[in-house]
């Protein structure tokens, strides 16, 4: 059903405009007519008054009201006169006339007064009154005519307006139909027709342009949605694949992996179950891992700190047995911790067997070496008779290599002790300066082998520390012998002792080639050697620095190295200064 309201509105406006114009014109016409009629009637009545007045002069002059009244009676012939009245010049009523059947209710619309004069003699006045009854008739007639004219004019306007409004409403209604079609069917390909260049045409053009835009955007939106769906599908597949991959990694990991959330195990893999002797990983869930950790290790597990910690430990299994583990705790945000546990029972066992083997071998080697060393000493000292000159260098070589072998075995045993925790330290007050001098003296001959001098510089009078004198000398000897080995012939190795921030720093500086970059990271590890071939030439076990580090750590000390300015390497270790100053005890 089409809503034709705009059509009827327009028609109504046209009609209203026509009607008001016509009514205004008719009104003006009637008003003019009435005014004309009144003017004419007034003139006529005035003439009549003067005429009747002139006939009344004698009656007035001779004071004969009866005659006056008879003269007024002649007005009966003019029904437009309602009343007539003659007064003397003194204002007294002289004669009076009222039309027969005069309706006193009807309004007097016109009244004229004229003087009564005879030969210049003013005798009195006459006044006539009229209701202008013809005016009513005139009005009736005019209104009737106006009504008829109005009726036909409006009819004509109506017929004309039907044609006129079609010009305006045609395009508008077509536009409205198009709008309805678009909104009902959602089809944005429809277009409104017609462009007449006026405002309606502008509206239609604008609407079409808008439709085109909507259509375009609709298509773009559809495309975007399809693309998005495709992308979501791809992502979903990728995520599923990734999830499967990670799950497989998690499930098949040989290491036990546990996820702790707020101190409670929330996820465990099959490896974790077998590590703890549980039948399924689910049996591990809900428990706290902390309970398995010795008190001094709990900080590492504590969820309050972020970061990563690795430690080795022996944990109990569900079946009551124990297992050696290497635990790595990675703290993630939101009080979540990832715990990776590796079963190192077999590694531990292997280490133990290795250590026992080394220990046994070392002990077994030491006894024969001692006798070899003694025998060689006797030979070299000439206690068994003078050696032939040709034998002398060979005895010396044998003696040196024997010493080297002893040192190697001692190092191995030291390492063994350190790892087994069986190294004993005789902690006493020591003067570091004295120890340095001792060590330098002890190694002077060794240095000479390499053509290297040891020079002690910048030494305070005393530097008191607490420690095991023999072990500290071992450290110093190690550093000095290393420096000697790696220095070119004729160079000096500088030794100094400094005091800084409550610690004593001992520096040993050589003028060697420096430490290769790739070796720096593992220089303090066991059996570390910069270059196998090179080291073999120099001789050494690769254990020295590791032992130094272990000894110094027992003294709350530390060791580091750096490339010295001007070439060479500078090794430096520090020990805490002894707070009080007790009596100096002998070494």
């Amino acid at each position: 059903m089409r809503d034709r309201s705009i059509r009827w509105q327009l028609k109504a406006i046209l009609m209203a405009v026509s009607a008001s114009a016509l009514v205004a014109a008719m009104g003006a016409m009637v008003a003019y007519d009435v005014r004309d009629f009144r003017k004419e009637a007034a003139q006529r009545l005035d003439t009549l008054a003067r005429m009747v007045g002139s006939q009344c002069t004698a009656a007035l002059a001779f004071k004969d009201p009866k005659t006056g009244a008879e003269i007024l009676r002649a007005l009966e012939n003019d029904p437009s006169v309602a009343e007539a009245r003659v007064e003397t010049k003194n204002g007294q009523l002289f004669a009076f006339y009222v039309r027969k059947g005069r309706d006193f209710e009807s309004e007097v619309r016109l009244e004229v007064t004229a003087p009564v004069v005879e030969a210049g003699e003013h005798l009195g006045t006459i006044s006539l009154k009229s209701e202008l009854l013809e005016l009513d008739a005139l009005l009736r007639r005019d209104v009737t005519v106006a009504g008829i004219v109005l009726f036909f004019a409006l009819f004509a306007a109506f017929l004309l307006s039907a044609r006129l409004e079609r010009v305006i409403t045609g395009p508008v209604l077509h536009l409205a139909d198009t709008v309805r079609a678009v909104s009902e069917r959602g089809d944005y390909s429809i277009r409104a027709r017609g462009a007449s260049g006026n405002e309606t045409g502008l509206l239609i053009d604008g609407f079409n342009a808008m439709l085109a835009q909507i259509q375009e955007r609709d298509a773009a939106l559809l495309r975007a949605r399809d693309e998005l769906e495709l992308r979501v599908q791809e992502r979903t597949v990728a995520i599923r694949e990734s999830e499967t991959r990670y799950r497989h990694l998690f499930e098949s990991s040989p290491d036990a992996i546990l996820i702790e959330t707020e101190g409670v195990v929330s996820l465990a893999n099959p490896a974790a179950a077998s590590l703890f002797g549980a039948e399924t990983p689910e049996l591990l869930l809900g428990g706290a891992l902390r309970a398995r950790v010795p008190a001094e290790r709990r900080d590492a597990l504590g969820v309050r700190m972020l970061g990563e910690a690795t430690f080795e430990d022996t944990w109990s299994r569900l079946d009551g047995g124990t297992v050696d583990v290497e635990v790595t705790v990675i703290h993630l945000p939101h009080r979540v911790a990832q715990v990776v546990i590796r079963d190192i029972t077999r590694r531990k066992e292997a280490e133990r067997i290795k250590n026992e083997f080394i220990s046994t071998v070392s002990h077994e080697l030491r006894t024969p070496l001692t006798s070899i060393r003694g025998s060689l000493g006797l030979l070299a000292a000439g206690k068994l008779g003078a050696l032939p000159p040709a034998a002398r260098p060979f005895v010396e070589i044998a003696s040196n290599d024997c010493l080297r072998l002893v040192r190697l075995i001692n190092d191995l045993l030291d390492i063994q002790k350190i790892e087994a925790g069986r190294m004993d330290f005789q902690m006493k007050t020591q003067d570091l300066v004295g120890l340095v001098n001792q060590a330098v003296e002890a190694n002077r001959s060794y240095g000479r082998q390499f053509g290297v001098r040891f020079v002690v510089r910048e030494v305070p009078p005393t530097a008191l520390v607490r420690g095991d004198g023999d072990r500290l000398i071992q450290v110093l000897s190690n550093l000095l012998s290393n420096a000697a080995k790696f220095s070119p012939r004729g160079e000096a190795v500088d030794v100094s002792v400094d005091h800084e921030d409550g610690r004593y720093l001992v520096s040993v500086r050589d003028r060697g080639p420096g430490i290769p970059a790739e070796f720096r990271d593992r220089i303090f590890q066991k059996f570390a050697q910069a270059d196998s071939s090179d080291t073999r030439q120099k001789g050494g076990t690769g254990l020295g620095l590791n032992i130094c580090k272990a000894i110094l750590e027992k003294h709350e000390g530390s060791i580091s190295f750096e490339a010295a300015p001007g070439g060479g390497t500078l090794f430096r270790f520090s020990l805490p200064e002894l707070a009080e100053q007790p009596a100096l005890s002998s070494v």
Binding site: A58, A61, D64, A69, Q92, F94, F96, V98
Partner: protein, 160 residues
Amino acid sequence: MECGVLFSLILLAGGESEAEIKAAFLFQFANYVEWPADTLGGPAEPFRVAVVGAPGFADVLEKTLAGRQAAGRGFSVVRAEKADDALRCHIVYAPGGEALRRPGLLAVGDGERFAAGGGTVGFQVENRRVRLVLNPAAADQAGLKLSAKLLQVGRVVREP
């Protein structure tokens, strides 16, 4: 409304005396009676109104006519002992005597009898009102023309 014509009965109840009314009527005759041209004389000549006897009335008339004009002429009052003394006047009022018949002379007297006895106009008092009794034949004899309006107002008598 049944009464087609109303006229006032209170007209004469005013303060005017009978003499004053008659004097006013005498003045009005100048407007409603036409004299032969030769009797009126030049344009500056006044109407001469004679009063025979009745000197009291003559006083009233003089007062009434003082300064008034009709058809451009003034008035003069002539006091006469006998009717003959008033021969050269235009209007003669003789309250007591016989009518004076002369061409160009308007003879006015009292009563219907005066007009019927050969006078032109007689003042007849009825119901305390002064009415005119006219004798057109006498006016004709005197060469006077009574206007139609005057004839309308007065009662006309025929000479016996």
